[in-house]
């Protein structure tokens, strides 16, 4: 296989890794934000909840920013098209995301009920809404979006945003994503929280895991009945990347299961997803949050790679002009660019993992109500 094709595939896998990192790490913080008002019954408890992820939320959030940057560089046409086509939800996502850093820093700075209560709502919105949008984006992308390109590569939108806001399959994916974030966030609260936060978080985490796994399985059956997309002519994976390349694509019901039929080994991925989510719920039931956290992460990774494997090489099919669907082959960056990006990813990812782990290690241990009250640096 030629080098360019290998690079495209590597970056497709790295895209999955990034989306998984985002889901696990940002999802965890989002879950904590969603749960804040429910596991913390008074202000002291809520401050404990916030301080559990206090030292980490900013670092975790970089997965989100890096996700945007990496898609921009590695799949420029995907970035250019998807962010614009989903304009209304992307803007809603941004609005809710930018509330969060401010809420963390400002909530504890003024000691009135009204001030803190307002920021608590901000945490709920900025925790739940982005996770629903994140999942729903997967659901929408799987069904295809209405867009086409002009001769110079400018995209044109062919459908209203109502379609992708109120779309049952996408909503299912959105709720599943929210449930998994609650599982991961609840588990984190068990790791560093004490009773009564521990008990409430445990209940939420178990419910999140069970809801997640049920919706994942329902989604799996549903996919057999929705339109997937398949090539109807020859494809050259090594061709210059442009959606105007002349590929021919048609919607086919159940096409998203073709890859699994062709390569049965891929069933390992949904297997990992189910095992991870279910295993995490069981471990939370058994009060083993460390194991549950890692199993929950495996559950996320399984779910995201299940989606990726079923769509590969498609990234974002077009419903109105299927032959201009975006694929790994036609939306990627140039060979030179992908090579440099890979170099930087290989050098910096291990370093990032090292210092992130060190940071969690330094801040290990239970967060207690009295610590939070004493320490003036706490949130």
């Amino acid at each position: 296989m030629e080098l360019y094709v290998v690079l495209k595939v590597v970056w497709a896998v790295l895209l999955g890794v990034l989306l998984s990192g985002l889901a696990v790490m940002v999802g965890m913080d989002m879950g904590v934000g969603t749960l804040l008002r429910f596991v913390g019954k008074n202000d002291a408890e809520r401050r404990v909840v916030l301080n559990i992820i206090g030292p980490h939320w900013d670092g975790n959030q970089v997965w989100f920013i890096l996700g945007g940057g990496a898609i921009f560089a590695a799949f420029p046409t995907l970035y250019a098209t998807s962010f614009s086509v989903f304009y209304v939800v992307m803007i809603l996502l941004l609005f809710s995301m930018i509330m969060r850093p401010v809420a963390f820093e400002y909530r504890s700075k003024v000691d009135t009920k009204k001030w803190r209560g307002t920021w608590d709502w901000a945490f709920l919105i900025s925790g739940a809404l982005p996770m629903i949008v994140y999942g729903a984006a997967f659901g929408n992308v799987m069904q295809g979006v209405g867009f086409h390109y002009g001769w110079d590569g400018q995209y044109y939108q062919d459908e209203s945003f109502i379609f992708y806001l109120l779309n049952p399959f996408a909503l299912l994916c959105g709720v599943m994503s929210l449930a998994l974030s609650i599982q991961q966030g609840g588990t984190m609260l068990m790791l560093r929280g004490e009773q009564p936060i521990y008990g409430r978080a445990r209940k939420a985490a178990i419910i999140g895991g069970v809801v997640g796994v049920v919706l994942f399985i329902i989604g799996g059956f549903w996919v057999a009945h929705i339109n997937g997309y398949a090539f109807t002519g020859p494809v050259d994976p090594g061709a210059p990347a442009t959606p105007l390349s002349g590929q021919t694509v048609a919607p086919v019901v159940g096409a998203w299961l073709h890859n699994y039929a062709a390569y049965p080994i891929l069933w390992v991925l949904p297997g990992l997803g189910v095992a991870g989510m279910l295993g995490a719920a069981v471990m939370n039931l058994a009060a083993k949050p460390v194991l549950a956290w890692w199993l929950g992460a495996i559950g996320w990774i399984g779910a995201i790679f299940t989606t990726g494997a079923s769509m590969f090489p498609f990234l974002m099919p077009s419903t109105t002009n299927p032959s201009q669907s975006l694929t790994v082959w036609n939306a990627a960056g140039s060979q030179y660019n992908l090579s440099w990006m890979l170099f930087f990813a290989l050098v910096f990812t291990p370093i990032i993992i090292c210092y992130t782990s060190w940071c969690f290690y330094v801040m290990r241990g239970k967060v207690k109500v009295e610590h939070v009250a004493d320490d003036e640096h706490s949130y």
Partner: protein, 536 residues
């Protein structure tokens, strides 16, 4: 391909400008404060004096209030290229997205991870361990600025990429050319140091407030002195680097430098280039292509801009005329490119290659083509189209001229202010100069203002291009509806107004409150002779 609704383009530009300017209220303070905090903590670790730890923690708290909004509004910037500038993202994503991605990997991850430890790790890390964390945060935030400005440098002076007709986009071909773009490097240092000036004046101004009120005397005196010395060096450096940037603009963006100087006629139009005046005041009239009123100092322009006494600096009128032939070639390039897209024929490719370097100018002509279709331009109507498009090749002179002047005057003001402040601080005569102290307090927001006008100079001066000479701004936007834009603009306006209100409220609250008593009255602090009796 139809043109995008001009009102959508204007609203997209408005939104980008507002969100970027807003983001940049907070960024300079972050850039400067991280290094000031690191400097204070260094003194703490070396001398072991508690007061320097108090300083690090108190200024760190104010820093945190500012940092949160900087991070939040930065999210908007990373996504806005995709949400509102889709053609831009498609056209240069292969080279422009890369520095943004590397920024995430190399810098932003580092800054954001270690800032958590910087705030929460005081009791869990050794002294040198915590100091290292503070330095890594400072390094991360400034490296972040480096990669962002490398990306911006590509828009100013596109290097390290070439257009690929097979993919209809610019493709990355030289990492070194991209990274070592002189524009990017000079602008990085200029911007980072402008942040240092902002941070220094912030600390100095608030300290001056305490000194005026005879509060937290030792704390304030030491903070003031450190900030003033930091400020003297930074403000001198920022002016020097600004001069270097001006010379680079003269070399690579002649239209920007002519607009900055309000230069309609060539500088040697009056007989000698050396005698051309540097304008202190002017009211540029874009339509009449002249300055209604102008007042300047002769013999300054040429040495200032070109570092020479004999070089002609081309004026806007002749630059506009020079664009004519390029627009004609650009039209040929784009028509050939469109034909090549259909048939991949060798003839079309050859025509395109012959005119490639001017293809961006072709985009400018589309507005004025019959039915906004470039292929309908014939030798008969070409001259009329070109005459109209020529006018679009120069930026808004009034905006560029005045934003540059405001920035520059403020820059020199900072040099003076820091020099006096440092002098009186070193002589321990601050308390006898209440006027200077008041000036320091009232000057706190001015560096931010200078930074904002610097950004306007750089970006407004680059117009009509989003990527200089390759892609005009009005072609770069996403083809949204006006309704979409109204929705997002209203949302940003509401949210950002609430944020700034909350931030100013907290900033004033905690600055007035000052360092907490148990911090300021720390026993190990050896009082400086002059401030032997603390006020509290």
């Amino acid at each position: 391909m139809p043109l995008i609704d001009p009102s959508v383009v204007d609203l997209s530009r408005l939104q980008f400008a507002l969100t970027a300017l807003y983001h940049f209220i907070f960024v300079p303070l972050t850039l400067g404060m991280t290094f000031l905090l690191a400097a204070m903590e260094t003194v703490y670790v070396i001398t072991g004096k508690q007061i320097y730890k108090d300083m690090t923690q108190f200024w760190g708290k104010l820093f945190g209030i500012n940092f949160a909004i900087g991070v939040a509004t930065g999210l908007t910037m990373e996504f806005e290229f995709g949400t509102n500038w889709s053609m831009y993202s498609h056209f240069v994503g292969d080279v422009f997205g890369t520095p943004l991605a590397i920024e995430g990997l190399m810098a932003f991850f580092m800054e954001s991870t270690f800032i958590g430890l910087m705030f929460f790790g005081w009791d869990r890390l050794s002294k040198p361990g915590h100091l290292a964390v503070t330095y890594l945060t400072a390094l991360g935030s400034n490296l972040s600025a480096l990669w962002i400005l490398i990306a911006n440098g590509f828009m100013q002076n596109p290097r390290g990429a070439s257009f690929n007709p097979d993919t209809m986009r610019m493709e990355f071909n030289s990492f070194l050319k991209l990274v070592f773009s002189e524009d990017a490097q000079a602008k990085f240092v200029h911007t980072s140091i402008a942040g240092f000036v902002t941070g220094a004046l912030f600390v100095m101004g608030i300290s001056a407030f305490y000194i005026l009120r005879r509060q937290h005397r030792e704390f304030a005196a030491r903070s003031f002195r450190m900030a003033a010395l930091f400020g003297v060096i930074s403000s001198l450096a920022v002016v020097t680097l600004g001069d270097a940037l001006g010379r680079l603009d003269y070399l690579v963006q002649p239209t920007k430098i002519a607009a900055i100087e309000g230069l309609w006629q060539d500088s040697d139009a009056g007989g000698s280039a050396a005698a051309a005046p540097w304008l202190l005041f002017a009211l540029p009239d874009q339509a009449a292509q002249t300055n209604l009123v102008e007042f300047g100092i002769p013999y300054v322009l040429d040495p200032l801009v070109a570092h020479s006494f004999s070089t002609n600096i081309p004026g806007l009128i002749s630059l506009e005329k020079q664009a004519g032939p390029r627009i004609k070639k650009g039209i040929a390039a784009l028509n050939a490119l469109q034909a090549y897209g259909k048939d991949h024929g060798a003839a079309a490719l050859a025509t395109f290659k012959a005119n490639e370097s001017d293809m961006g100018y072709g985009f400018l002509a589309q507005r004025y083509a019959p039915n906004q279709d470039l292929s309908k331009i014939t030798p008969a109507n070409q001259d009329a189209v070109v005459a109209q498009a020529e006018k679009d090749t120069i930026p808004n002179v009034f905006v560029t001229f005045w934003s540059f002047r405001i920035m520059m005057i403020l820059g020199f003001y900072f040099v003076g202010l820091f020099a006096f402040a440092a002098f009186f601080s070193l002589k321990n005569r601050l308390e006898r100069n209440p006027l200077l102290l008041k000036l320091c307090v009232w000057s706190i927001p001015l560096p931010v203002l200078a930074c904002e006008f610097g950004w306007i100079t750089a970006e407004a001066g680059r117009q009509p291009w989003s990527v200089y000479r390759w892609l005009p701004t009005f072609q770069a936007a996403s083809s949204h509806s006006v309704g979409y834009m109204v929705f997002s603009l209203i949302g940003f306006a509401l949210l950002y107004s609430v944020f700034i209100a909350a931030e100013l409220y907290l900033m004033f609250k905690f600055a007035r409150l000052g360092p907490q008593p148990h911090q300021a009255a720390a026993p190990e602090a050896a009082p400086a002779p002059m401030f032997a009796a603390p006020a509290e």
